[in-house]
């Protein structure tokens, strides 16, 4: 097991190098002096000079990259050009908000998506199946930010049940997390349906049925457990989608998370913060998929020996 985890950890190294290269060249692709870009338009010349020295812009590019990596390893992402606060501080202040939204949303999406997919697979080509598959297709085609706005119109403006934005209580979490969940529930339902349909047509399911087991036992104990791996995979992959969706959802609901931070930073051309948030999003995505891979090794011991 430990070997598997180590192997899996090592496989993330090329991806991490790729992300660091992307961030490194991001600034160098911009027109103008990277030190000026990082310091912001209004920065005094001394500060620009300090940043220039820090980045080692007068030295060869591979040395610049090495010093960039060493700063990244220490989570030294510089200061925000807008607020002058350290980028790490800005990120840590907002990360819990985004994580809260993401965790509630993915939990809701699993609670609705997995049972919907199972029902749809167990009763294929019935009205229940058509309801699930067409709702899923609608969900995939719907812009998440529009759904958020429609929920605000109905639940905040017309019914006055829930706040339209902000944070502070559990009521504030409901609309943003439902919006975000609606975004991924469709993918989870579709994947659960197709995997369950495949598993339900396997010989071992027929054997379980012919042994006279109850349908519920066949579906849950025999079929669902075998369908779990692709479902876990898709939940892991949806986490990335969720981060993308969080950018839009946080904007709709004025939710003070990382998504809102990156949009504000792009509009203000605050590159140190943009770099920092992109790095954190990349790391989170890799981490979640790593955890997912380790979970499958627990769920299915065959994976460890492959």
């Amino acid at each position: 097991m430990l070997n598997y985890v180590i192997k899996r950890l090592l496989s993330t190294v090329p991806v991490l190098i790729g992300i660091s290269l992307l961030l490194f060249f991001m600034l160098r692709m911009l027109p103008g002096d990277p030190a000026q870009v990082l310091a912001g338009q209004m920065a005094p010349p001394e500060e620009i000079e300090t940043i220039r020295k820090q980045l080692g812009l007068d030295r060869p590019i591979y040395i610049q990259y090495a010093s960039f990596l060493s700063r990244l390893a220490r989570f030294d992402l510089g200061r925000s050009a807008r607020t002058q606060n350290p980028v790490t501080e800005e990120i840590w202040a907002r990360l819990p908000n985004t994580m809260l939204l993401a965790v509630v949303a993915i939990t809701l999406a699993c609670l609705f998506g997995i049972p919907a997919g199972i029902i749809s697979a167990v009763r294929p080509y019935t009205w229940m199946d058509y309801l699930v598959t067409s709702s899923a297709l609608f969900g995939i085609s719907m812009p998440v930010f529009w759904l958020g706005l429609m929920l605000v119109i109905v639940f905040s403006i017309m019914l006055k049940w829930l706040p339209a934005g902000g944070t502070g209580s559990w009521q504030h979490v409901v609309l943003p997390s439902v919006t975000l969940a609606a975004f991924v529930v469709a993918f989870i339902a579709r994947m659960t349906r197709s995997t369950m349909m495949e598993v339900l047509s396997q010989d071992y399911t027929t054997t379980a049925r012919s042994k006279g087991l109850k349908e519920q036992v066949v579906v849950i104990k025999h079929a669902f457990r075998n369908a779990l791996i692709p479902i876990i995979t898709v939940v892991g992959l949806q986490f990335g989608l969720l981060l993308g969706g969080a950018v839009l959802t946080e904007t709709v609901f004025a939710w003070p998370g990382l998504g809102r931070l990156i949009v504000d930073s792009i509009l203000a051309r605050d590159y140190p913060v943009i770099q920092g948030v992109i790095l954190i999003f990349g790391l989170l995505y890799i981490l979640v998929n790593l955890v997912v891979d380790v979970i499958y090794a627990f769920v299915d011991p065959r994976i460890r020996y492959d």
Partner: protein, 296 residues
Amino acid sequence: MTERVSPAACRVESQRKDSRLRRNWAKLRRNKAAVFGGILLVIYLFTALLAPVIFPGSPSAPNLIQSLEPPTAKNLLGTDELGRSILGRIIYGSRISLLIAVGVVSVGLLVGVPLGLISGYYRGKVDFGIQRATDAMLAFPGFLLALALVAVLGVGLKNTVISIGISMVPIYIRLVRGCVLSVREEVYVEAARAVGTRDLGILFRHILPNVMVPITVQTSLAMGTAILFAAGLGFLGVGVQPPTPEWGAMLGSGRVYLFNAPHVATFPGIAIFLAVLSFNLLGDGLRDALDPRFKL
């Protein structure tokens, strides 16, 4: 947002072309959802192409006297904060979204397909290099990658197309490479190699036609995704800029008037939804019709 097509779908080359086409077309026509998607798509294309005929006049000219009017017989979908007809802007917006969708898949196809062909055909170091670069790009969820690229390239129509297009490239690379890996082992490729056909000829004349099925399906789904991504960027204010009538940007500006004029944000969203739905329905239908593993 982004769906992927199975590379196994490319193992579809044995029957005669015309009979196969006819059978696939019949399968597609039997699929009611795909037909509905096709009808929606035709309406969308006609709206985009005939926008000046359907809505004469400028969709961007302000008329402050009639700002934020609710839907009336004169302005069927009401007006926005500058008194412009929302219907007119949605009609002209279909041109922008179509332009973006076509532009985005062109970038994805032109860059992703050749790289996928090379990666799968030559294997070895070239494959390793291309695949690791693809891994790094896929480490970022598509929309975030497009957002990061916009941060570098800047806002506007051209940069929106380039950013979203680049975010689609790794998906095409993976898809085409997966197909090429199985197709390159086929007897007809070996035969072409044996008679001395050059690599370029093998790649484009023998391999590419055999991986067109998954590429076609992916392209239909990718066009829907492109419209959604572009609308998302527009909504955030980092996509196509005003006064260009872009659906996402229209929604973004309508957000401010949600309390007193909810119609401003409602209708552009329905337009985005229907356009994306048409591509998704057609993409799903094409996959079902062209993928032999699926029987209707």
